[in-house]
């Protein structure tokens, strides 16, 4: 495997990664602009494709996982990404509940309480 082939092979690898990322971006763009999906589903699809593109770029550009055994870079990324998700999802769950409780009108109050009573608390 001469150096030239090695160089050309890796260049192709980079370009393939970039093209994959570009395609994923374009797909999300089209799905959004065509307005075919309903709000919640568009969010799910868009975030899903964003995760896929994240993995594509991680592997092709940042060579994640391609390091000697303890793989500190990969482990630290997984832990940081997990904690970022916990904080984001946790914050949104808390703030959504706070906004719901703070904005409740008397009628909603009664519905809420009937639901609570059914649970038998």
């Amino acid at each position: 495997m001469s150096a030239i082939d090695d160089y050309r092979k890796e260049t192709i690898r980079y370009i393939v990664g970039a093209v994959a990322a570009a395609v994923l971006t374009y797909v999300v763009y089209m799905v959004a602009v065509e307005q075919r999906l309903e709000a919640v589903w568009l969010a799910v699809v868009a975030l899903g494709l964003a995760m896929v593109q994240l993995l594509v770029q991680m592997v092709s550009f940042l060579h994640l996982g391609n390091e000697t055994k303890p793989r500190w870079k990969a482990q630290s990324f997984v832990f940081a990404f997990l904690m970022a998700t916990v904080i984001m999802v946790g914050s949104i769950w808390i703030m959504a509940n706070l906004d719901y409780n703070m904005g409740m009108s008397p009628q909603q109050m009664d519905e809420y309480m009937i639901k609570q009573n059914k649970k038998g608390f």
Binding site: F79, M95, L98, M102
Partner: protein, 651 residues
């Protein structure tokens, strides 16, 4: 051109004028002494620009102890006020001064005493324990220290000019927004924390890479001393949580300086989001403070009970469990905001689960004592005070984890008593034990043991007198942060609490006296063989005071408590050709420059001197570029010199 600078920001309260005069006088006195003894060059070359982690650690501890004196002075002022101000007696201070004092007390004690002591002890001890010559990025270590000092000067500078924030140590909006608090006080608080916070973040990265990459050959993760494990877990917490502090403070700063609307009460702002963000950092922060103290307790108990630490694997498992759970509990700080039953119940249960690994650690320490030979030196007395105090704090913590109970006792004196319980009991006792335990390794002589034990007794009794009455006051309906109250039946409790705080001040006096007496009797207390306590880990294999290169020859490790077993098997004396040349970092004044520039930047933004702020920011970038393009930052120390020094140390 002059932003909002004006003379009426000078202090006009008697108390603040007194402090504002006392501090500069103290600084001038030190400057005069330094000039008189011609020590400026020594100070600059040996200490301020040194990149030796141990020297930086000692500087952290000195700054932290000075800040402890100010923090306790604040505490004495607070308790004197509450002991007197009943009914229509206004007490000693105005409301605004009182509110600034308790905000300064909280901010200084957490950010500049606890964090300062932690980073100080880690800098001194951790590289030695893993058999490394220095931290991974020595220059970054110096920058982190000087950012910490810049933050400290900003907090104390607020006393001289402009006043400090009156919004409490976490400064909830909308109270700290422009609508209710337009003055420079809150800005001092934001920028002091922001600059010190970035320093802490850089240290977190620095120590993590040191532990992961610079351990002695043969020392796998499961053969590391347990203190190093607690440092590794703490630094992961620092790296993940401090960006949240940076972002919460930055958004509040954007609200205040560029009139944005993140947390304002109008224009769509949502103050609750600030509370959510600040506590998402806040709770991991209190674990960041206590976990290294747990590591110190493990080392102290194992050494003074002359026994292997009980359940090394369980202790590591407990540390990692605490690391994960500390990120899913933060909402228990605002159960009463009204997030609803499901959210409260989830976070309450997660908070209780964290009590399990903490409890397991305490049982492991107790069973390290079991079947040991216990010597009741000062560090061990600190440990016993810790178990007594921290267990009470743990109980009240589990009580408040139940949402329905927290609805009654949140933000009352009960809560104040709880967190002082776990911070004084866990963090302060731990770091004081650590300082006493590793003092000989840094300065070559032990601390006076009897005075150390007396200081611990004073702290313990002072704590019980100061904070058990607060639990009772909490149950009577007394709310936190009040500077006066009307119910005369509360006054005896506040008086006993004031006596308690004075006893704690006595404890600190004894600690400082202990250092003084030990310096005076250092010949008698001399540590001859570098292993005064018959220790178990690598730092005791090096003569004390430890040379600036730590290990002339890097040791190889094959088991936990390597030094204990090396002593048993007899240590072969290294021959002349075992020594090799070593590369050490040169001193660098650029760390001090960055600290100064960040201080100027913070001050300029507080006083809306935009041109000066921009200049300082560009200055920081220039200094960083100068450092990266500077090629010769290291010097080599020849094997011959190492051999000579080792011979002298042995004689």
């Amino acid at each position: 051109m002059f932003g909002r600078l004006s003379l009426d920001y000078l202090p006009h309260e008697p108390a603040t004028i007194g402090a504002a005069v006392a501090m500069p006088l103290a600084l001038i006195a030190i400057a005069v002494a330094l000039t008189y003894y011609k020590k400026w060059r020594w100070l600059w070359r040996e200490w301020l620009t040194s990149l030796d982690a141990k020297k930086i650690g000692v500087m952290y501890i000195v700054v932290a102890i000075v800040m402890l004196l100010r923090g306790v002075a604040d505490a004495v002022m607070l308790r004197m006020q509450t002991a007197l101000a009943v009914g229509d007696n206004p007490g000693l201070f105005s409301v605004d001064t009182f509110q600034q004092v308790f905000t300064a007390h909280g901010t200084i004690m957490i950010f500049f005493v606890a964090m300062g002591l932690m980073f100080g002890i880690i800098n001194v001890v951790m590289p030695l324990q893993i058999g490394a010559r220095d931290v991974a990025f020595p220059w970054l270590n110096s920058v982190s220290f000087w950012l910490f000092v810049a933050g400290m000067i900003l907090v104390n500078g607020a006393l001289l000019f402009g006043g400090f924030s009156n919004g409490g140590w976490l400064g909830y909006p909308p109270l700290t927004e422009l609508q209710y608090n337009p003055g420079p006080g809150v800005d001092y608080w934001i920028w002091a924390l922001q600059i010190a916070g970035i320093g802490s973040l850089l240290s977190g990265i620095n120590f993590t890479v040191t532990i992961l990459k610079k351990r002695a050959p043969g020392m796998t993760l499961m053969k590391m001393p347990i203190f190093v494990w607690s440092v590794l877990v703490t630094m992961v917490l620092v790296m993940i949580s401090f960006p949240m502090l940076t972002s919460a403070l930055s958004l509040l700063a954007l609200d205040r300086t560029l009139d944005m609307h993140f947390f304002t009460s109008n224009m769509g702002g949502n103050p609750m989001m600030y509370i959510n963000l600040i506590w998402a950092w806040g709770h991991p922060e209190v674990y960041i403070l206590v976990l290294p103290a747990f590591g110190i307790y493990s080392e102290v108990v194992a050494t003074f009970a002359r026994k292997k630490l009980f359940g090394y694997k369980t202790m590591v498992a407990a540390l990692v469990a605490i690391m994960f759970f500390s990120f899913v509990v933060w909402q228990h700080h605002f159960f009463t905001m009204g997030a609803g039953a499901n959210v409260n119940a989830f976070f309450g249960i997660m908070t209780m689960i964290i009590a399990i690994p903490t409890g397991v650690k305490i049982f492991n320490w107790l069973f390290t004592m079991y079947r040991g030979r216990i010597r009741f030196t000062a560090p061990f007395v600190w440990f016993m005070c810790f178990v007594v105090t921290f267990t009470i704090g743990g109980v009240t913590g589990v009580l408040m984890a139940v949402p329905a109970l927290d609805f009654q006792i949140h933000n009352s004196m009960f809560l104040v008593a709880h967190f002082h319980n776990v911070i004084i009991g866990g963090v302060v006792f731990g770091y004081l034990a650590g300082i006493t335990y590793w003092f000989p390794k840094v300065l070559g002589f032990r601390l006076h043991d009897r005075l150390g034990r007396w200081s611990a007794y004073a702290w313990q009794v002072g704590f019980l007198l100061a904070f058990l009455p607060l639990y009772a006051l909490g149950l009577m309906g007394a709310v936190r942060r009040i500077d006066h109250y009307t119910d005369p039946s509360w006054q005896p409790f506040f008086i006993v609490s004031a006596v308690g705080v004075l006893t704690i001040a006595l404890g600190i006096g004894l600690f400082v006296l202990q250092i003084g007496v030990s310096v005076w009797q250092r010949k008698k207390l001399r540590d001859t063989n570098g292993d005064p306590w018959d220790g178990r880990t690598l730092e005791w294999s090096v003569p004390s005071p430890a040379p600036h290169y730590n290990f002339a020859i890097q040791p190889t490790v094959s088991r936990i408590d390597e030094w204990w077993y090396q002593k048993k098997d007899g240590v072969a004396r290294p021959t002349r050709n075992d020594y090799k040349d070593i590369v050490l970092p040169k001193n660098s004044g650029l760390g001090v420059a960055i600290g100064l520039l960040c201080f100027v930047f913070g001050g300029a933004v507080i006083w809306h001197l935009w041109w000066l702020a921009a200049l300082a920011f560009v200055g920081v970038i220039v200094v960083i570029l100068v450092r990266t393009f500077d090629e010769n930052t290291e010097y080599t120390m020849t094997a011959e010199k190492l051999y000579q020094e080792a011979k002298e140390a042995r004689v």
